[in-house]
Structures are given as structure tokens and as C-alpha cells.
């Protein structure tokens, strides 16, 4: 469960007035729910995820995860109970370390101990987990992650993010940098992991079709606010054109980018 309560984020522009990126935004996501977050460029989608993860600080408001107020906690402390995958496949893994070492790193959250990270039984367990990706990586455990393709690396990052069963999974356009085939693959894995582990997830995406498919609830953002929030039967009735209509209504304007959103 996560509750964002009138969160405001502002970026200083040097000298002049601060640019307000999130405007007293509130959002509550119950345990086990998946929410797609859509909106145009600059709507504040990524900033919302960054604020939850602790990458950017709140000016005001609060963030509560599973009853724990983490508004003032540093990013690394929140990462203990948050899982996160970013757009850049290089962001979440250590490229010059082996697949096995990366998995071992992610299999436990929080303070590290002075105890062997990879014992034969841990290696066997992790090999089983990575086999679930269906990419044959279980046979390449001793290879460096930098040798993987973007799709493989992002799938591995996703596995690393869910391995410790986080309270909330944050996915920030995690398929946007992949080619269509790999994007479909990683999306399917995402859906499977969320269902299998019963995760609570926030997924930022540009792809309206995927936004509808992958989540039971779709939240639309515009200029730092939530302008539409559909779920349940209402969401099930919606197709991409309905979503685009809703988008236009909520925003009150219309411009060329809508065409891209339909693709």
C-alpha cells in the first residue's frame, strides 16, 4: 500500500521562480493493485516516481508506504522496500560484474554482511530464478552483465527489482528504450511477476494500449496533477480512442502529440 498525500515538487531554475513539477498531488494505491500512469511529456510522471523513490525531495506533502512515513528517508533507505526499473537498461545493474553477482546483490535488501554472497545453494536458487526469464541466462551466470543485450539486461533488472518482493514496484517507462519484440517480452514478464508475487505496482508509460492492458487502473497526469483516474468496470470498457478522448477533455487542448500516443 502506498499513499502520496498532497506532494509538491519544485525544481529551482537558478535565480528566477521555481518550476513546480508536482502540484499537491495525492494518490492512494491499495496493496496488490497495478496502476498505469500516463500523460504527455513534462506532466510529472517520472517526477512522481522519483519523489516516491526519494531521488527528488518533496517541498511539502508526505509519502507513506505500508504505514511507514518515508518522506524524509534517503533514497537508499527507501530502496529496502521499493523495487525500481528505469528506462535506461544500464541503470539498474553493474555491467562489469557477473549475472550471478548482480542477482546475489539484489536477492537481499539493506545492510550487507560479511558472509559469502554466493554459496552453491544460493547459486542454484538464483539460477532457477533467472531461468524463469526464459532467455537462457541461467547458462551464462558467470558472464559479465555488459555482454547482455538491452532486452536481456532490462529483463534481468526487472527480476532483480522483484526478487526481494518489494512493497511497491516502480517502473518508469522500462520498455521504452527496447525494440518492439523485447518491449513485448519485458511487458509480459512484468505482468507475470506482478501476478506471481502479488505486487503493488506503479507503471509509467507512453503507450496507451499497454497502459490499459497491464493495469486494473489508469491514472492520467497533466501539468503536475492527476486529471483522470479510471478503474474497475469503467476502465474495462475503455479502448485507446476513449482514453485519448478522456485525455483531450481533461487537458482541454489538442495537439499533434496525440497522434503519437495512438500509435
Amino acid at each position: 500500500m502506498i499513499r502520496v498525500d498532497s506532494a509538491t515538487v519544485a525544481f529551482s531554475q537558478g535565480g528566477g521562480e521555481d518550476r513546480i513539477v508536482l502540484k499537491e498531488l495525492s494518490l492512494e494505491v491499495p496493496r496488490g493493485q497495478t496502476v498505469s500512469i500516463i500523460g504527455s511529456n513534462g506532466a510529472g510522471k517520472s517526477t512522481l516516481l522519483n519523489a516516491i523513490a526519494g531521488t527528488v525531495p518533496l517541498v511539502s506533502g508526505s509519502i507513506v508506504v505500508d504505514g511507514r512515513d518515508c518522506t524524509r528517508d534517503p533514497e537508499w533507505a527507501r530502496a529496502v522496500y521499493l523495487g525500481r526499473v528505469r528506462q535506461n537498461p544500464l541503470a539498474g545493474t553493474a555491467g562489469d560484474m557477473t549475472i550471478l553477482d548482480n542477482l546475489a546483490l539484489a536477492s537481499r535488501k539493506g545492510r550487507r554482511r560479511l558472509r559469502l554472497a554466493v554459496t552453491p545453494s544460493i547459486a542454484r536458487d538464483l539460477a532457477g530464478r533467472v531461468a524463469e526469464l526464459g532467455m537462457g541466462l541461467e547458462n551464462r551466470l558467470r558472464e559479465n552483465v555488459s555482454k547482455l543485450s538491452g532486452g536481456q539486461r532490462q529483463a534481468l533488472t526487472l527480476l532483480m527489482a522483484v526478487l526481494s518482493r518489494p512493497s511497491v514496484l516502480l517502473l518508469d517507462e522500462h520498455t521504452a528504450a527496447l525494440d518492439p519484440a523485447n518491449a513485448d517480452l519485458v511487458s509480459a514478464l512484468t505482468k507475470r511477476f506482478i501476478a506471481e508475487y502479488g505486487l503493488t505496482a506503479l507503471i509509467v508509460t507512453h503507450d496507451m494500449k499497454r497502459a490499459l492492458e497491464q493495469a486494473g487502473r489508469v491514472v492520467m497526469m497533466h501539468e503536475g496533477r492527476i486529471v483522470a483516474d479510471v478503474a474497475g468496470a469503467e476502465k474495462e470498457r475503455m479502448g485507446v480512442p476513449d482514453l485519448v478522448d478522456l485525455f483531450r477533455q481533461a487537458r482541454g487542448t489538442d495537439y499533434a502529440e496525440d497522434r503519437d500516443l495512438l500509435s
Binding site: A79, L90, A91, D207
Partner: protein
């Protein structure tokens, strides 16, 4: 000659391991080693001198002096590293400048530890060497005893490091220098982990300084001059000689590189005159060695690797990551 090169290579190899940790593992360009190495030498020498003065009074002090001296060397070096880390993390001072601050400050601290003198001889009383000899039996030739002691110390340090970099903490430290975000992602405070690494690296430099003082027979406040470059040259020579992405091999090849480096320096000192090289030119030689090692690894070694990469990209165009483009 061979024995001298090996002992020097192993003793300074521990310093090179420290440089390897900060420059290669942590990606932290740490110059404080130039302060922590002599700090270790000074601390060890001060303990030995105190033990000599206390002789008769407290027998246990004399017996424990070798261990105390080595431990003090590690602690003094670690303290210098902690100072650098504190300046870097708390005041957001870049690594290079933080290291220079420590190195500068420790020059004066080292002078104080040495009792206000720039130099403290251990000729009359050298418990580290005496201890090494007595363990191996009085009958062993002194040169061999020295080599065995150096080998034991260097291999023990390398073995412990190899083990450490297979622990949860060690793996996280490896990932920290590679991609800090991946370490934050798993709930580790990067600042405290980096502090541990810098303390460890400088502690090893201090330990190496303590052993170097025992080997040279004196501690000198100017011991630190040029040790970063020497350590880097050792690390790079090892990397040129042995290719591997296994941490264990990477650690032991630092010792190998250090022996190689000392061998080259010995050759330059002994036969350099044939090419007009004097001992004054050794620093220039070290600098050229580093530049040469970088050039070789950049132009000679990387080429086949990048060729492979383009080939792979050609054969599987769909699997490459396309960044920045949005559908």
C-alpha cells in the same frame, strides 16, 4: 638481486592493492595514499621506538611490538582514509582535492608521530625483522627469512581481500564503483560503503608503509612521495600482463604487477646507465610507464573487443538497446 626485487615487490604490492581498491574498485582517485603510507611507517616506527625505550620495564610490550607496529600502521593509514572520506562525503569535496587535503595535513601529523624528526632509524632495534627471523628459525639465511615473511604478509592480505570481495559487503563494494545506482537500489548507503572502502585502501597503504619501514630500516616523512604513481604503474602492469574479470585473479595480479614494476625499476637503476638513465630519471620512467600502459590498453587491447561488438550488433540488430527514441 632477485630476492630484493621480490621483497620490495611484495611489500609495496600491499600498497598497490590499496591503490587498486580505490582507483579500480571504487573508481575513487585517492591521493591520500601519499599521506597514509608514511603514516603507517611513522606509527610502526614510533611503536618500535617506544618498545625499545620500555625494554626491561614491560616485557610483553617488547614481545607484542611487531604485531602492534603492523596494526598501528594499518590503523594510521585507515585514519588518513577516514579523513579523506569525511571531507569528501560531508563537504562534497571532489576525491582528488579531498586526498590532497589529507596528504598535506598528514605530512605534519607524521612529523609529530616521528617525534618532530623527519626520519626515525630502526637499525638498532627492528622487531619486525627479528620476529620474522625467529619464526623461521635462527638457522634460516636472513635473506630467505625476509622473503618468506614478505611473501606470507602479501599472500595473507591478498587472500583476505579475495575472500572479502566474495562477501555480501565485498560484492556491493564492487558494484559501487561500477554503478552507484545499482547499490542504492538494493538499500545500501553508498557513502558508508565507500568510506569502508577508502579506509580499507588506506589501511593497506599504512600496513605497507609499516613493512617498508621495517625492510628499509627507517621511517621517513617523505616515504609517501610518488607512491600513488608507483602503485598505479604496478596495477596497470599487472592488468597488461594478465587479463581476467575474476576478482581473485585481479587481486593477485596486482602483486605480480608490483614485482614486475620493482624489477623494471631495478633494471633501470642497474643497467640504465647504458642508455644514459640515472636514478634521477626513475620518476619520469614511472610516469612514462603509466602513460604507456594506458596507451597499450586503449589502442592495442581494445580493438578486437570493439570489433567483436560491432559484429554482434550486425548479426542481431533487433537485440541492441535503442536509447532515447520513443515510439
Amino acid at each position: 638481486m632477485i630476492q630484493g626485487i621480490l621483497v620490495e615487490g611484495l611489500v609495496y604490492g600491499i600498497l598497490a592493492l590499496g591503490v587498486f581498491i580505490s582507483f579500480r574498485i571504487l573508481d575513487f582517485a585517492d591521493l591520500s595514499v601519499e599521506g597514509s603510507f608514511p603514516a603507517g611507517a611513522a606509527a610502526a616506527a614510533a611503536i618500535v621506538a617506544a618498545a625499545a625505550r620500555a625494554e626491561g620495564g614491560a616485557a610483553w610490550f617488547g614481545a607484542a611490538a611487531p604485531f602492534l607496529a603492523v596494526a598501528a600502521g594499518f590503523a594510521a593509514g585507515g585514519l588518513a582514509g577516514f579523513a579523506t572520506s569525511l571531507v569528501h562525503h560531508k563537504l562534497k569535496v571532489p576525491p582528488l582535492l579531498a586526498g590532497i587535503v589529507t596528504m598535506t595535513g598528514f605530512y605534519s601529523i607524521n612529523l609529530r608521530v616521528l617525534g618532530g624528526r623527519p626520519n626515525l632509524p630502526l637499525i638498532k632495534h627492528n622487531p619486525l625483522l627479528d620476529g620474522a627471523r625467529s619464526w623461521l628459525g635462527a638457522s634460516a639465511p636472513p635473506d630467505l627469512a625476509l622473503l618468506a615473511a614478505a611473501l606470507l604478509a602479501a599472500l595473507a592480505v591478498a587472500g583476505i581481500l579475495d575472500l572479502f570481495f566474495h562477501t555480501e559487503k565485498g560484492i556491493a563494494m564492487g558494484a559501487l564503483g561500477d554503478n552507484e545506482a545499482s547499490v542504492i537500489q538494493v538499500g545500501v548507503n553508498p557513502a558508508s560503503l565507500r568510506t569502508l572502502g577508502i579506509v580499507l585502501a588506506n589501511g593497506l597503504a599504512g600496513l605497507s608503509g609499516a613493512l617498508a619501514a621495517a625492510y628499509q630500516g627507517f621511517a621517513d616523512v617523505n616515504f609517501g612521495a610518488g607512491v600513488v604513481a608507483a602503485g598505479l604503474a604496478s596495477v596497470m602492469l599487472g592488468e597488461l600482463a594478465i587479463k581476467s574479470h575474476y576478482i581473485g585473479v585481479q587481486i593477485f595480479r596486482v602483486l605480480f604487477g608490483s614485482i614486475l614494476f620493482r624489477g623494471l625499476m631495478y633494471a633501470a637503476r642497474s643497467w640504465g646507465y647504458l642508455a644514459g638513465i640515472t636514478p634521477n630519471d626513475l620518476r619520469l620512467l614511472t610516469a612514462l610507464l603509466i602513460v604507456g600502459a594506458v596507451a597499450v590498453s586503449k589502442y592495442a587491447m581494445k580493438r578486437p573487443k570493439s570489433a567483436r561488438r560491432t559484429e554482434a550488433a550486425r548479426s542481431a540488430p533487433a537485440s541492441g538497446a535503442r536509447r532515447g527514441g520513443r515510439p
